[in-house]
Amino acid sequence: MADVTAVGQATAKRRKPRKKLTQTQSWKTAVRGIWEDNPAFRMMLGICSTLAVTNQLVNSMVMGIAVTAVTIASSVTVSIIRNIVPRRTRMAVYTLVIATYVIFVDQLLKAYYPTISEALGPYVGLIITNCIIMGRAESFASSNSVWLSFMDALGVGLGYFISLMVIAFIRELLGFGTLFNYNILGPNWEPWVIMVMAPGAFIILGLYIWIIRGIQGE
């Protein structure tokens, strides 16, 4: 009997305890992008598209997915080539990479989802200059492994997606009385058109930043 326990104990010591998923570095990298480093509310990146598309939930969803896809693709690519790109040209090279993926997405939308492409208008092309993607490429993907870059991009993309949706929720509800184009507030609701326009966008974003940062307790 003693032999068995001894062997049991020895085996237990040799086998490293499996880390919980939530403790792994990849998980933490991803989650960071959703809360602490949320691009729209904390890092103040990607503001242009945030203000433009968040007057409707549908457009926000498409933009969120598109930006996430491009961020992941770009970060992974940048991470792969990070050791070959000379320092001085890195911004230009990263921008080219990002532009390629964006045009890729733009063409796909134009061909297979033309109504959405029309609704998003010029803002699809402007994803190229969306500072989130460049920001992550420059500050993370250029100096981290491919897998971690992937997780970082995923997290940041998800964080951005969520921020777009919560802003759009308020703006579409108050500005149109609808959610996802379904009438929620009834026919007697007098829409707050200001919510659909530029000033409403700025102010709602400002208020959200106040709330989120208040919760995070700077």
Binding site: T89, I103, Q107, Y112, M197
Partner: protein
């Protein structure tokens, strides 16, 4: 030229070349579909404007219908479409739709206006192309906006009214919060129809 400079240029050129090649590939793959979408959009909108029924999923049917019942003409830069049937071997025209365009708030707006035989009453207005602010000017494609035009009169002038409620047969309401786009539509309709009337005295 030292090694660094050469590397810089080489990397840039390689990345640009790969990018262009990839995009060229994607473009060639998707462009036929994009062009088809555009063609279908134009043709189905015109069929809609004339009230001709069609199956939106049947590309060939749309093309056939268009070929056999719509005559397209361009006179001095204005394109117009005429809906016809063949009676006793002759073309009998049933309606006319003008393709009007002009600059909008963001980009050019292209629209169709269908006129009745009296060349004055509007049967329908359809938007062909626009890239206005989503949720604001972009709402011009929504049925509530375009449906307003039915039965209104384009002569002597027409107004898309933004600062008060529209009244009378020569006015429609603009889009709240999209004054610039509404003004653009106003201008395109008025200028386009005036130009058309001045160059085509009898049809």
């Amino acid at each position: 030229m030292n090694r660094n400079r050469i590397m810089m240029i080489v990397v840039m050129v390689v990345v640009a070349a790969v990018s262009a090649a990839l995009l060229g590939g994607v473009y060639n793959l998707t462009q036929p579909k994009v062009l088809l979408n555009r063609e279908m959009k134009l043709k189905t909108t015109i069929l809609d404007a004339f009230g001709i029924p069609y199956d939106p999923n049947n590309v060939e049917q749309v093309r056939e219908l268009f070929k056999n019942s719509i005559e397209t003409k361009t006179v001095e830069g204005i394109t117009f479409y005429r809906d016809y049937v063949i009676e006793n071997g002759k073309k009998v025209y049933k309606g006319i739709a003008l393709e009007l365009s002009g600059s909008g708030f963001w980009a050019p707006i292209k629209m169709l206006i269908v006129l009745e035989d009296d060349m004055e009453t509007i049967r329908a207005v359809k938007i062909l192309e626009q890239a206005e602010t989503p949720g604001l000017g972009g709402r011009m494609t929504e049925p509530w906006f375009t449906a307003q035009f039915k039965g209104k009169k384009i002569k002597p002038t027409f107004h898309v009214v933004s600062y008060r409620k529209a009244k009378g047969p020569n006015e429609v309401d603009g889009i709240t919060g999209a004054t610039e786009t509404s003004k653009a539509v106003d201008k395109i309709l008025n200028q386009g129809t005036k130009k058309f009337f001045s160059i085509v005295k009898n049809l």
